[in-house]
Symmetry: C2
Subunit: 308 residues, 2 copies
């Protein structure tokens, strides 16, 4: 099943949650499907670079999901298999597919996750700390020894529960990604422009505020970049769109030599496109079904939509 | 106070509501300030063409508001002064300045408004039916005799109360503008892409869905154009932003010879810029304070933000 030998170098390391999601929409319920921030982010990044996944699953993690990630050339040397059950999360979406309610969360093996990176990962120039406990993000960060670019994402839980550790993460990253509601919660600013300015002061060179179907905004000392979302005909499941956006973005950055504002702008476009495929199906189904050429075709279309 | 003699030809006629607004935000309450769809739309259009305003006010309408509109070179030959009180509307915004509650509406002279256009207006090539009762929009439309481009906007009230008349308007316009929530209400489609497709089938060549701070989307048989909103630092009062967006857009179209997709795209950019100034102050205050050069400066900045 391996597309490349496992001794290939990884240019991007991604740590985050991986587990089994049960997702209910007004159309249907899908049980125990592959989910988690690192799954979406790695699958999305894999169109642009070979990402190394850092995560933990239990003994019950289905072989077919491992194979699915390998089929996208995701390096799984950093995927630990621990005694116990895999992380599980269940949610129900409102009919508009915007609001969702978390029905249950069982951390299981994720509760004691203390990642030890494979040696081959430690020299990766690029690191993405996808959504997971800030303490885990810091543990991964401390093991890297040749970093040129670090990005981090988070979620509302960590803003409430482990704010000091989260702030420590934010201080050490080049790019911090956060969604609009979380940006408001973290900074106490009602409006996004002041919220982003506040976040820039916490350390990162770049801040991206993700607005779901409304696109994203990049803030840096060089100014603002506005990127709309690609308008898909039918959203089936928005889960993982933000992780896929960030994963593809980091994939584009990791592939490139040096990181400039123009490159970040280009990477945001690919992030938006990859996220737009993600929401067209449940779980990683669409990401596993498309090819790079599909992304490029949609990117051409997208550029025509936003040319000014 | 007149910047030009009143016999100048108008290239754009705009009909809509005009009245006195009382607006409450978490910061303050502003009483009896100039408002109404046609006020915002004409002030915004006036940066690009000389618009002719069609509306009605009562005998209590302050002279200074008439002078304010004239100072922006808005042609007021179509502004009727009727016996009775001016239309009044009052609202309170949530602290996030997104949701608002209408506290009171007094139609007053607007209740019996049956516009008779000045002869000089009837040959205008361009018409914008800003938000007002569809019956009034149709009455204005029927008096125009050299139209090359007609656009219309609406609001939730007319979707609920006078749907057949509204559909009749939509059938006869080249461009229909509507906000996202209203597009869902009118079409019954939860998602904006199918909603826009539904609206295109009702007759217009172009449909623009306005998403407030999230920008706008243009749909036509040629495809989709995505335009973000300009990210302002501080929103003081979002009232009239959609009217100003549409007014500026129509102003750009009216000034040009023939209307192409490329021109509509450019007009959307100016609509977004003009709307961004509008929300930075209450009522038309900012629109009355800026000059075309301010719009152009922000347009240059905006283009850098969205270049892909």
């Amino acid at each position: 099943m391996k597309a490349k030998p496992d001794n290939a170098a990884v240019k991007l390391v991604v740590v985050g949650s991986i587990g089994l999601d049960t997702v209910t929409t007004s159309a249907t319920t899908r049980r125990n499907v592959l989910g988690g921030s690192v799954s979406y982010a790695c699958a999305a990044a894999s169109f642009f670079t070979r990402p190394g996944l850092v995560g933990v699953v239990g003994r019950d993690f289905p072989t077919r999901y491992r194979a699915a990630l390998r089929s996208r050339r995701v390096d799984l040397r950093g995927l630990e298999s621990a005694a116990g059950r895999t992380f599980r999360w269940s949610c129900a979406y409102e009919p508009n597919l915007k609001e969702r309610e978390t029905l249950s969360t069982a951390l299981n093996v994720l509760a004691d996750f203390a990642p030890e990176l494979p040696t081959a990962y430690r020299h990766s120039p690029c690191l993405f700390l996808a959504n997971i406990a800030p303490e885990v993000q810091l543990k991964v960060l401390s093991q890297m020894c040749a970093l040129r670019f670090v990005a981090a994402d988070t979620m509302d839980l960590w803003i409430r529960a482990t704010r000091p550790a989260l702030l420590k993460v934010i201080r050490q990253v080049d790019l911090f990604l956060i969604n609009d509601a979380e940006a408001r919660a973290l900074t106490g600013e009602e409006h996004l422009v002041p919220a982003a300015r506040h976040l820039l002061k916490l350390g990162p060179r770049y801040v991206i505020i993700k607005k779901g179907e409304h696109g994203s905004m990049l803030f840096s000392r060089q100014g603002v970049v506005l990127s709309p979302a690609y308008p898909v005909d039918l959203v089936r499941d928005p889960t993982g769109a933000g992780d896929a956006f960030a994963g593809a973005l980091l994939g584009v950055l990791a592939r490139a030599g040096s990181i400039t504002s123009a490159l970040v702008r280009r990477a945001m476009l690919y992030g938006a496109i990859t996220a737009s495929f993600t929401v067209e199906a449940f779980s990683l189904e669409k990401l596993l079904a498309i090819r790079r050429a599909d992304i490029e075709a949609r990117a051409r279309q997208f550029r025509r939509m936003i040319r000014c």
